[in-house]
C-alpha cells in the first residue's frame, strides 16, 4: 500500500471537480468529493493496520526530487510515523464524515462542485502538511491549507464581508507563516538541510540546551504555529472565519487546520527541547489564550462564534500541554477535540440551517424536541467540551493536561490555576450555549430537519468523542496508556515531579468539581434565573462589550497596522517618486519656454544679443 495514495486521492478528486465539476450531474459531485476522501480514509486504515501490526517506527516514500541546489534538496517525500498517523487518521476520518455531512448540507448551493473541490484540496494539503518529511514540503501544505481556508471562508463570495473575513484569515496567518519561513531560513543556514529527521539528528549532535540559535529558531517556528493555530496575539482571524459554511468551520477551523501549529511544535519538539525558555513561552501563550478566549466565548451571541472562541481556547490547552512538554497529552487532546468540536460545529450547522440561517443564540431555543438527534449529539459534544467527568472523552484528555500543567517538571501552579479557571469558563459557556439553543421556549420556527446524511456523521462523531477518551486512562483508575505508548517512539513521555505523584486523584477531583460547578452555574443563570444573567450583563456592560469584541484585538490591530498601511498606500497612490520626474519635465519645459521667449521676432533684440556676445568675447580676449 503506497503512502502516496492517501494525499493523492483527494487531490485527484479536487482536480476532477475543478476541471469537469460544472458538467458533472449533481449526484456525482458528492460521490467524487466524499468518495475520494473516503477511499483515502480506507487507505489510512489499511496502512495504519499494517504499520502497527508490523510495528514499524517510520515509513518513507519519495515521490520525486523537488529541487536540488547546493545542499538545499527538499523532495516531494512523505514520512509516516506514529504522530503523523494520528493526524492523517483524524484528517481523513473526520474529513470523510464532514464530506458526507456536506453532501446534504450544501446540496442547494450553486457552488456545490466548487465546495467539494476546495474541501478535497484542503484534505490533500493538510495530509501533505502532516506527512511532509521536510520543512519545505510542510510549508507547501501549510500554505495550501491557508489557501483552502481562504477559499472556503469566502465561499459565499457575493457577500463583501465574507471576502473580508477570508482575506483577514489569509493575511493574519501569513504573518505567522513568514515567521516560520525565517525559522526555515535559519535552520537551513545552521544545518544545511531542511529534512525534519536530519534536523532532529543534527540538533542533538550540535546543540546544547539553551543554545541561542535553538532559541531563535524555536521562537520563529512558534510564530508560525501561533498564526495558524489562532493563538495570542494572532487569534483575531478565527472568529471572523466563521463566515464560511459550517462544515468548513468544523473541518478546517476546528478539527484540523488550526491544530497545524500544535503539529508543528510536536513535530519539531526536538528543537524546542533545546530552548526551554521558548517552551515556557508556548505554555504562557497557551494559558493566556485559553483564559482570554474563554471569557470572550462567554459573551458571544453568535452560536458559531462561541464555538470559534472555544476552539481558540481548546488549542490554548494544547499549547499549554506542549509548553510543559506533555507532548502526547497535547496530541491526545487534539484528537478528542477534533471529534467533539467537529461534532459541535456540524450540529450547530444543522441548527442554523434548520432556523433559516439564524446565528443568534438568543433567537433560538426549545429545539430539544424538534431536533432530537442534533440535540443529543450536541449534548454529547458539549459534555466532552466541558469535560463532564468520567463519561466523556474530553474529560480524560483535558484532565491529563490539567494534571500535567502542574505535575510536569516544566509545569507550575500558575499554569494549573489558569487551566482550571479555563475549565470552569469552558463548562459555563458550553452549557450556556446548550441551554440557550435547545432549552427554553421556541423563538424561531424550525424550517428544515436534517436528513440521514447529516445525522449519521453526527452520531459517529458523538460515539468517537466519547469512546475516544477511553484509550488513555489516568493512573488513578484504569491506567491505560495505549495512546501515549503508541506515540512514545516519536514523542518522549513526560517526566512527572516526584513529590506530586500521589496527588493526581486530588487534581482530578478538583477538575471534575469545577466542570460540574460550571454546568451548575450555567443552569442557574440561563435556565433557573435567566433575568440574573441580563442583570449581570448590564451591570458590567463595558466588560461585556470588551469581551464580545474579543478583548479589542481587532480594533487594536486595525488602528495599529491596517489603517496606517491603507492610509500610507492611499496617500501615495499617485506615486511620489513620479513627482520628481514630473519636476524634471517641468524644468525642461520651463527652460524651453525661457529660450523661446528670446526668439521674440524683434530684430533689435537679436542684435542686442550679438552685441552683448561681442562685448563678452572681447572682454574675454582682453582678460
Amino acid at each position: 500500500m503506497n503512502l502516496l495514495i492517501i494525499p493523492a486521492l483527494p487531490l485527484l478528486g479536487s482536480f476532477i471537480l475543478i476541471v469537469v465539476g460544472s458538467r458533472l450531474p449533481k449526484r456525482m459531485i458528492p460521490l467524487v468529493g466524499a468518495g475520494s476522501v473516503g477511499l483515502s480514509a480506507l487507505a489510512t486504515l489499511i496502512l495504519g493496520y499494517r504499520f502497527i501490526s508490523a510495528s514499524l517506527t517510520s515509513l518513507n516514500v519519495i515521490a520525486w526530487q523537488w529541487m536540488d541546489i547546493n545542499g538545499l534538496s527538499p523532495a516531494i517525500a512523505f514520512h509516516l510515523d506514529a504522530l503523523s498517523l494520528v493526524f492523517i487518521f483524524v484528517i481523513t476520518f473526520v474529513g470523510f464524515l464532514i464530506h458526507v455531512y456536506s453532501a446534504e448540507f450544501m446540496v442547494h448551493d450553486e457552488g456545490y462542485a466548487r465546495f467539494f473541490a476546495y474541501l478535497n484540496l484542503f484534505v490533500c494539503s493538510m495530509l501533505t502538511l502532516v506527512l511532509a518529511d521536510n520543512l519545505v514540503l510542510m510549508y507547501l501544505g501549510w500554505e495550501g491549507v491557508g489557501l483552502c481556508s481562504y477559499l472556503l471562508i469566502g465561499f459565499w463570495y457575493t457577500e463583501e464581508k465574507n471576502g473580508y473575513a477570508a482575506r483577514k484569515a489569509f493575511i493574519v496567518t501569513r504573518v505567522g507563516d513568514i515567521l516560520m519561513a525565517f525559522g526555515l531560513f535559519l535552520l537551513f543556514q545552521t544545518f544545511h538541510t531542511l529534512n525534519i529527521q536530519e534536523i532532529a539528528g543534527q540538533a542533538t549532535q550540535q546543540w546544547t540546551v539553551g543554545s541561542h540559535t535553538a532559541f531563535v529558531i524555536s521562537l520563529l517556528l512558534l510564530g508560525g504555529a501561533v498564526g495558524k493555530s489562532a493563538q495570542l496575539p494572532l487569534q483575531t482571524w478565527l472568529p471572523d472565519a466563521m463566515a464560511g459554511p459550517s462544515p468548513v468551520s468544523a473541518l478546517i477551523h476546528a478539527a484540523t487546520m488550526v491544530t497545524a501549529g500544535v503539529y508543528l511544535i510536536a513535530r519539531m519538539h526536538v528543537v524546542f527541547e533545546f530552548a526551554p525558555e521558548v517552551l515556557m513561552i508556548v505554555g504562557i501563550i497557551g494559558a493566556a489564550t485559553l483564559v482570554m478566549a474563554g471569557f470572550a466565548a462567554l459573551t458571544q451571541y453568535d452560536l458559531k462564534r462561541v464555538l470559534a472562541y472555544s476552539t481558540i481556547s481548546q488549542i490554548g490547552y494544547m499549547f499549554l500541554a506542549l509548553g510543559v512538554s506533555a507532548w502526547s497529552a497535547a496530541i491526545f487532546h487534539f484528537m478528542i477535540h477534533a471529534f467533539f468540536k467537529a461534532l459541535l460545529f456540524l450540529a450547530a450547522g444543522a441548527v442554523i440551517e434548520a432556523l433559516h440561517h439564524e446565528h443568534d443564540m438568543f433567537k433560538m431555543g426549545g429545539l430539544k424536541n424538534k431536533l432530537p438527534v442534533v440535540y443529543w449529539t450536541f449534548l454529547v459534544g458539549a459534555g466532552s467540551l466541558a469535560a463532564f467527568p468520567l463519561i466523556t472523552g474530553g474529560f480524560y484528555s483535558k484532565d491529563q493536561i490539567l494534571w500535567l500543567s502542574l505535575a510536569s517538571e516544566h509545569g507550575n501552579i500558575w499554569f494549573f490555576l489558569m487551566a482550571l479557571l479555563g475549565a470552569l469558563i469552558t463548562s459555563i459557556y458550553t452549557f450556556r450555549m446548550l441551554f440557550l439553543t435547545f432549552f427554553g421556549k421556541e423563538n424561531t420556527p424550525v424550517s428544515h430537519v436534517p436528513g440521514s446524511s447529516m445525522n449519521i456523521p453526527l452520531i459517529v462523531l458523538a460515539v468517537l468523542s466519547t469512546v475516544g477518551g477511553f484509550i488513555e486512562l489516568p493512573h488513578t483508575f484504569g491506567h491505560l496508556t495505549v495512546f501515549s505508548d503508541f506515540l512514545n517512539p516519536i514523542l518522549p513521555s513526560v517526566t512527572v515531579q516526584e513529590d506530586l505523584e500521589n496527588f493526581e486523584w486530588l487534581i482530578q477531583l478538583v477538575a471534575a468539581l469545577v466542570a460540574l460547578s460550571g454546568v451548575g452555574l450555567a443552569y442557574f443563570f440561563y435556565i433557573y434565573k435567566p433575568e440574573l444573567s441580563d442583570e449581570l450583563k448590564s451591570s458590567a456592560a463595558d466588560l461585556h462589550s470588551f469581551w464580545l469584541s474579543g478583548w479589542g484585538f481587532d480594533k487594536l490591530y486595525d488602528r495599529l497596522l491596517v489603517r496606517p498601511f491603507v492610509y500610507l498606500s492611499n496617500i501615495n497612490k499617485k506615486d511620489i517618486v513620479d513627482k520628481f520626474y514630473d519636476g524634471l519635465v517641468m524644468i525642461a519645459e520651463w527652460v524651453n519656454r525661457m529660450l523661446s521667449y528670446t526668439q521674440s521676432g524683434i530684430l533689435r533684440w537679436y542684435l542686442m544679443g550679438i552685441v552683448i556676445g561681442g562685448i563678452v568675447l572681447m572682454a574675454l580676449a582682453l582678460l
Binding site: 542686442m608 552685441v611 561681442g614 562685448i615 572681447m618 582682453l622
Partner: protein
C-alpha cells in the same frame, strides 16, 4: 595736415550723430552724405585717394540715391516723422547706449594698448591697388562680381511689384 584730419573726423562724428538722431529720414540722409564726404577726406589724408573717390561715388552717390528713391516710392509723409518721435524714447536707447559705451571702452582700450604708429606718409596709388586686386585677389574679385550679380537679380526679384503672394502655409491659416 593733422588739423584737416581732426576737422574731417569731427565733421564725420557730428554728422553721424545727426544721422542717427533725425526723425525725418530725408534729413538724416543729407547728414549721411556729409558724413561720407568727411570720410572721403579722411581717406584722402590717410593716403588712399582711390578709396576716397569710391567713397564719394558709391556711398554718397549711388547708395544714398538708391535709398532716397526707395523713400520716395514708399511715400513717407508727416506721420512718419511723428511716428519716429514716438518710437525714439529714453527707454529704447538707454540699454543700447550702455552696451555701446561698454564696447567703446573696450575698443579704446584695445587701440591704446597697441604701439603707436604714424600713418599716411605714403600714398598707395591706384596702380598698386589694381595690381593687388587683379593679382592675388582675383578670385575674390570674381566672387564680388557674382555677389553683385546675385544682388541685382535678388533686388529685381524681390522689388518687383507683384500680386500679394502668400505662402501656402500662411494661406491655410487665413482661411
Amino acid at each position: 595736415m593733422q588739423v584737416a584730419f581732426y576737422i574731417a573726423a569731427l565733421v564725420a562724428v557730428i554728422s553721424t550723430i545727426m544721422v542717427i538722431t533725425r526723425f525725418n529720414i530725408i534729413h538724416a540722409l543729407l547728414y549721411l552724405v556729409v558724413s561720407f564726404m568727411a570720410m572721403a577726406v579722411v581717406f584722402f589724408i590717410l593716403g588712399a585717394p582711390f578709396a576716397a573717390a569710391l567713397e564719394v561715388i558709391v556711398y554718397a552717390g549711388a547708395i544714398v540715391v538708391l535709398i532716397i528713391f526707395v523713400i520716395m516710392m514708399l511715400n513717407q509723409k508727416e506721420e512718419a516723422v511723428t511716428q519716429e518721435k514716438k518710437w525714439l524714447t529714453p527707454m529704447v536707447y538707454v540699454g543700447p547706449a550702455i552696451l555701446s559705451a561698454l564696447m567703446m571702452g573696450e575698443l579704446v582700450y584695445i587701440i591704446y594698448v597697441g604701439e603707436s604708429h604714424a600713418v599716411g606718409q605714403h600714398v598707395v596709388d591706384v596702380k598698386e591697388l589694381g595690381k593687388t586686386l587683379y593679382g592675388p585677389y582675383i578670385l575674390a574679385v570674381e566672387l564680388g562680381g557674382m555677389l553683385l550679380m546675385a544682388g541685382i537679380v535678388g533686388a529685381y526679384h524681390l522689388g518687383r511689384q507683384k500680386k500679394k503672394v502668400i505662402h501656402r502655409f500662411l494661406k491655410e491659416k487665413e482661411d
